[in-house]
């Protein structure tokens, strides 16, 4: 058995808690350019590089002592000539001759070590690139918004007659400037929101939100667009008792996104129907339209950032976006332990469903008392 241990194609070392090596096989000794007898009685630290010693004391030994074993540990060993040999180690603690010892088998890693280096390098590059992208988006959005605020503010002053009365053509020109500014502002806000979420995650403050109130608030904000687009908005099955546990501002943002999308993609005389459903555990709000729909291939990518669908008709020119609305909406819903999903039939319309946890009665009452 002893011979087998010494000829086995893997290293074996056994050390006490104080680090003293009490057994080692020929395979490991030869790999480190020592004789077996050299290593017996040495401290394990003597065959580890400095970083490996720290890891041994802060992770490996505590795991062996507290957990009884340690699996798949990457630990380089140092040869007599000072070269580090990457090893994969499994350890187990056992009692032999009345003394606790830590038995470890180790395998030399060569190719795997290189692959892991490449994987690590790739991960670092990907993370750096992701951080750089988020910083760039955030900086660009700020830089774009500042001059736009000045343009919008001055257009407001012109429209209000602060610099004299405008003739009809001038009024039309100022209206176009303000409309373009609003569109641009929305696009920049989307980019900024998305960059912020990528950089630091989504912050939400959930409370009990009666869905009828949320829908009614969102409806008021899109009323002008719905009328201009010659559409009809209906709300069904939403009772005051349906209360979601959500961040009210974030829920409104999602609803506005879905309603604005429905307006964009529904031809005149179409219908946008909002409905609600609750089973006591979950609340679902559906926004259904009779629009142009989305084909299955596009539907699969619709929640990915920067994916845009092509609105048709007269609204196309002023409905341009950056393709972040749905990505943001879904991230926000997920941050509230919910989700946004989509179903669609090309030519017949789409249904977007916001799924959220239902608020418990108590939470609703607290909110009512606070607002009352």
């Amino acid at each position: 058995m002893h011979d087998l241990m010494n000829t086995a194609p893997c290293g074996f070392v056994s050390f006490r808690d104080d680090g003293t090596i009490v057994e080692v096989n020929e395979t490991l000794a030869a790999l480190l350019h020592y004789s077996r007898l050299d290593l017996l009685g040495w401290h394990i630290d003597k065959i580890l590089p400095p970083g490996g010693r720290i890891f041994h004391h802060t992770y490996l030994l505590p795991m062996l002592k507290v957990q009884g074993s340690a699996d798949e540990i990457y630990l380089p060993f140092r040869t007599k000539d000072g070269v580090d040999v990457p090893m994969l180690l499994n350890g187990a603690r056992t009692e032999r001759d009345g003394v606790f010892v830590n038995d470890c088998v180790c395998l030399r890693m060569i190719q795997r070590h290189e692959y892991e280096d490449q994987l690590l390098q790739a991960r670092r590059l990907a993370e750096e690139s992701s951080e750089a992208k988020a910083k760039f988006l955030s900086m660009m959005s700020h830089d774009l918004r500042t001059p736009l605020t000045a343009i919008y503010g001055n257009a407001d002053l012109l429209a209000a007659g602060a610099f004299g009365l405008l003739n009809e053509e001038q009024e039309e020109a100022v209206r176009t400037i303000r409309e373009a500014c609003r569109t641009q502002m929305t696009m920049i806000s989307d980019i900024l929101d998305f960059a912020r979420m990528e950089a630091s995650g989504v912050q939400v403050q959930p409370s009990a939100v009666p869905v009828t109130e949320a829908i009614s608030r969102a409806e008021k904000l899109v009323r002008v667009q719905i009328d201009e687009a010659e559409l009809r908005l209906t709300t069904t099955d939403c009772s005051d008792a349906t209360v979601a546990l959500a961040d009210p501002n974030r829920l409104q943002q999602i609803l506005l996104n879905l309603l604005t999308n429905a307006v964009k993609f529904t031809p005149p005389r179409g219908v946008i129907a909002v409905s609600c459903e609750s089973d006591g555990e979950r609340v679902r709000i559906r926004v259904r339209d009779t629009g142009i729909g989305v084909d299955p291939e596009q539907l699969a990518r619709i929640f990915s950032p920067f994916v845009q669908l092509d609105p048709t008709g007269a609204r196309a020119a002023r409905s341009a976006g950056v393709g972040l609305g749905l990505a943001i909406s879904r991230d926000l819903a997920r941050a509230m332990n919910g989700d946004v999903t989509a179903e669609s039939t090309p030519g017949a319309g789409s249904v977007f469903t916001i799924d959220l946890p239902a608020a418990r009665d108590g939470a609703h009452r607290v909110l009512e008392q606070r607002s009352g």
């Binding site: 808690d17 401290h43 630290d45 010693r53 802060t58 505590p62 798949e72 990528e198 950032p305």
Partner: protein, 266 residues
């Protein structure tokens, strides 16, 4: 923000009234003290915790800017003291926690009655005449090793390289086994710990302290223990027979005796 006791996974037990606050070092978590605390339960109020980013702490509370220096970790200690309204605290810190204890005691000296430091070091990297035990390249070797030891972990590729189609909160959950931590946080903790320089903080300490120096400590050599003893006012140096850097794991009896003797002599 969750409450501090949940955030830091705080456990309080024992029959005494004076708090004995145990702070784990770099690596693993409060379970490192499991061989020591039973000896003090009868006479002290034992407080155990995990630093944010370690053990079963709340990873969502991790703030890279706050924990970029040991001051952020010292704030964890002071937050716990405030949350439990602790006074006359005996702080027992292992390794890097010794310096975290120094920072906490310098900021709120009135809270602490003693500092017990197990394997302390104010600076791990050699600097001119100062012997810390390591060169910068050695620490970089450790960071590389830490990276590799998470290679097979399920959450290795989880960070936000691209939008995660799965639930993002899942990437913030710790694996259950002992010593499992978020790899990015652990790497940062390693950098914060091993590149720290707290030598200038030592002379400001006004709380009596015990330096427990192991023989043949590969992480905090004897020179470091002597340096601390020379520099820290009111310090006592205890040279231990125990070898290694974790006497509370490898030589719990001697560690218990040393703490007990210091507390009973004071």
């Amino acid at each position: 923000m969750p409450d501090v006791l949940t955030r830091n996974n705080v456990h309080v037990f024992g029959s005494g009234s004076q708090p004995l606050l145990f702070a784990h070092g770099f690596g693993c978590d409060q379970q490192m003290w499991r061989f020591i605390t039973p000896a003090f339960e009868a006479n002290y109020r034992i407080v155990l915790f995990d630093y944010v980013g370690s053990g079963k702490s709340d990873l969502n509370a991790y703030d890279a800017a706050r924990y970029a220096t040991l001051d952020g970790y010292a704030q964890d200690v002071l937050d716990i003291c405030a949350a439990l309204d602790l006074h006359d605290v005996i702080f027992v810190g292992h390794s890097v926690s010794s310096m975290i204890g120094v920072l906490a005691a310098n900021r709120e000296p009135e809270r602490f009655s003693k500092l017990i430091m197990v394997g302390p070091s104010p600076r791990y990297v050699n600097d001119a005449d100062y012997i810390g035990g390591f060169e910068r390249a050695d620490i970089e070797g450790l960071l590389d090793l830490m990276d590799k030891n998470y290679i097979g972990w399920a959450n290795f590729l989880a960070p936000v390289i691209m939008k995660n189609d799965e639930r993002p909160e899942l990437t913030r959950e710790l694996h259950e086994s002992f010593c499992s931590t978020d790899p990015k946080i652990t790497r940062r903790f390693a950098e914060t710990t091993f590149f720290a320089d707290n030598r200038a903080d030592l002379a400001k300490v006004r709380v009596p302290s015990l330096i427990m120096q192991c023989s043949e400590d590969a992480i905090a050599p004897v020179e470091v223990g002597n340096y601390l003893y020379r520099t820290m006012p009111g310090s006592t140096l205890k040279m231990m027979k125990a070898t290694g850097h974790c006497p509370h794991i490898s030589h719990p009896e001697e560690t218990i005796d040393a703490i007990r003797s210091y507390l009973s002599a004071a």
